[in-house]
């Protein structure tokens, strides 16, 4: 049976990197049909990804859970697997789909073992569980940091499908999305993250300056977000974003397990912290015990 891959187009455009990594994850399970609930341009972009057999396109403006879940559940009949990247959009929608189909959802899959068996992290990544599903259709989200992106070069056909009717359960009011010229956090090759040690929103500019010098994305710890130094969408960790860049630079971050859960698969980890006992040094490849207010400007200046 084929795989239905729910693409994330909730931002008004295709989240191409996440969709492409999810394609890699599900490739062994069968022919992949990508469902795009969003603008036609997003569907056209999905059709160009390699490994896509068919694109189903439904017009949708805001990716609200109720109509999108109804749409997916309505299409589920012909599929053995329904998958999506673990983005906020899919984490909102897919459990609803699973319940409508009376099956479990398998969140954050890091390895597809066979058609029924999947691996996923639990306890903030302190354990990896292998589960076998007995459900008729397997509904799961894919932790994209665990898979390489599929290439471009596809030329799938786009078939329109009718959007599910809006039952009026919820309505969209507003999006507050910060535009940024920096690379996207979950797909960046380098991430520079700041923690409580930065001390203020103004000082957080030191993180941004280093990131810009390196062409990196900016991340933050929960403490930095809670304190208002950085916006919520930059939070890295168990309950934020999971990243696996080539280089992760943690500055003024202690290294709580909840933070490590989001970055410990980076290839190279650098920690800058004035406390030599900080737990972040236990996972860092290169640790610099220093006051960040001296080390950061020096580093940015010398690069």
């Amino acid at each position: 049976m084929a795989v239905l891959l729910l693409a994330d187009a909730s931002g008004g455009h295709l989240a191409a990197d996440s969709v492409s990594k999810t394609l890699t994850a599900v490739q062994s399970l069968g022919e992949v049909h990508v469902l795009v609930a969003g603008p036609a341009a997003a569907a056209a972009e999905a059709a160009g990804l390699s490994g896509v057999a068919k694109v189903l396109h439904a017009e949708d403006a805001h990716g609200l859970a109720e109509p999108v879940a109804a749409l997916v559940a309505g299409l589920a009949g012909g599929y053995g697997h329904i998958a999506a990247p673990s983005t906020a959009f899919a984490k909102n929608v897919l459990p609803r789909v699973a319940a409508l189909l009376d099956v479990m959802v398998i969140p954050d899959v890091t390895a597809v073992i066979d058609a029924e068996t999947f691996e996923r992290p639990i306890y903030a990544g302190n354990a990896v569980q292998r589960v076998r599903s007995s459900d008729s259709v397997k509904v799961f989200t894919v932790r994209t940091a665990s898979f390489p992106a599929a290439g471009a070069g596809g030329a799938a056909e786009v078939t329109p499908v009718a959007a599910a009717g809006d039952g009026g359960l919820s309505s969209w009011v507003e999006d507050r999305v910060a535009a940024s010229d920096r690379p996207e956090l979950t797909s960046a090759k380098i991430v520079v993250s700041g923690g409580r040690g930065l001390g203020s929103q103004e000082n957080f500019a030191l993180i941004e300056a280093l990131a810009d010098k390196l062409g990196a994305a900016v991340g933050a710890s929960r403490a930095a977000v809670d304190s208002g130094f950085a916006p919520n969408d930059l939070q890295v960790g168990q309950t934020g974003k999971v990243v696996a860049p080539q280089l992760y630079v943690a500055v003024g971050i202690s290294g709580a397990i909840q933070h490590l859960a989001g970055m410990k698969d980076a290839k190279v980890i650098v920690a800058v912290n004035k406390d030599e006992e900080a737990p972040i040094f236990q996972v860092a490849d290169y640790g610099l015990v220093a006051d960040l207010f001296q080390a950061l400007p020096e580093l940015t200046g010398k690069l």
Binding site: H62, A88, P107, I122, V128, D226, Q282, D285, K302
Partner: protein
């Protein structure tokens, strides 16, 4: 939900049989403290008339419910569905039980946490909303209830999104919705006398047999501590050697 305390370092059992939960500190799931706090604030501001807290799991979850009662909830329902703490009830089964409770109680609003920090599912609230045919507002960082709807600001990948859901609805709490209060000693004493109803999954006719069989649980690939560098120059040299800058 009663879960392992977020400060405890979890250990995978050597036999691959899961995470060791015997003799470890258990607490209320941190997101659920936030959910309880929000409900209590809705009552304090006159929007809600009563706060009922529900937990599904082992008998000891009664302690978790007492904590919620001490924070200010009015009464509690404990649904005993397992006799071993190592037996986690899946979100689908929990949602079915909660849906049955909601049919009895007819709440104007259900607030859950975004995610249980043990199984990291992030699913129960969405599943519950589906089973009830209600709207959902997940990952909430701000909730304003007015008339028959709630205006909810949600933490999403690109920033924030505000939506309006018709009530009754399910809202799931994110970290920045509020800062939960601590229960005072007098309130802890008072909570002991608040009503706590004990039920079983069978009372609601819900089959809690898991849909996912755990084949094995392993330690994640470990990371070794690397080296300390003495200066910024040395750091730059190392990163150049690695080819990452």
């Amino acid at each position: 939900k009663r879960v392992i305390d977020y400060n405890v370092k979890v250990r995978v059992r050597a036999d691959g049989g899961g995470v060791d939960l015997s003799n470890v500190k258990m607490s209320m799931n941190p997101f659920d403290e936030i959910a309880v706090e929000e409900a209590i604030r809705l009552k304090e501001s006159g929007v809600a008339s009563e706060v009922v807290v529900v937990s599904v799991g082992v008998k000891q979850a009664a302690e978790t419910l007492r904590t919620a009662l001490a924070m200010g909830a009015d009464r509690a329902i404990l649904v005993v569905a397992a006799d071993d703490v190592h037996r986690d009830i899946e979100p689908l089964a929990v949602a079915k039980i909660l849906a049955a409770v909601a049919k009895d109680e007819q709440p104007g609003l259900v607030i859950a946490g975004k995610q249980a920090i043990d199984n990291d599912m992030n699913a129960t609230g969405q599943m519950l909303a589906a089973l009830l045919g209600w709207g959902q507002a997940t990952f909430a960082s701000e909730v304003v209830v007015e008339g028959g709807s709630a205006t909810v600001t949600r933490e999403v990948d690109g920033g924030l999104q505000t939506i309006r859901v018709q009530l009754p609805a399910v809202i799931t709490a994110d970290l920045r919705l509020n800062e939960p209060r601590y229960a005072s000693l007098p309130n802890i004493m008072k909570a002991k006398k608040k009503p706590l109803d004990e039920k079983t999954a069978a009372d609601y006719g819900v089959d809690v047999a898991p849909r996912l069989t755990v084949v094995g649980t392993a330690e994640p690939a470990g990371r070794k501590a690397g080296v300390k560098v003495g200066s910024v120059d040395e750091l730059i040299a190392k990163l150049k050697d690695e080819g990452v800058i």
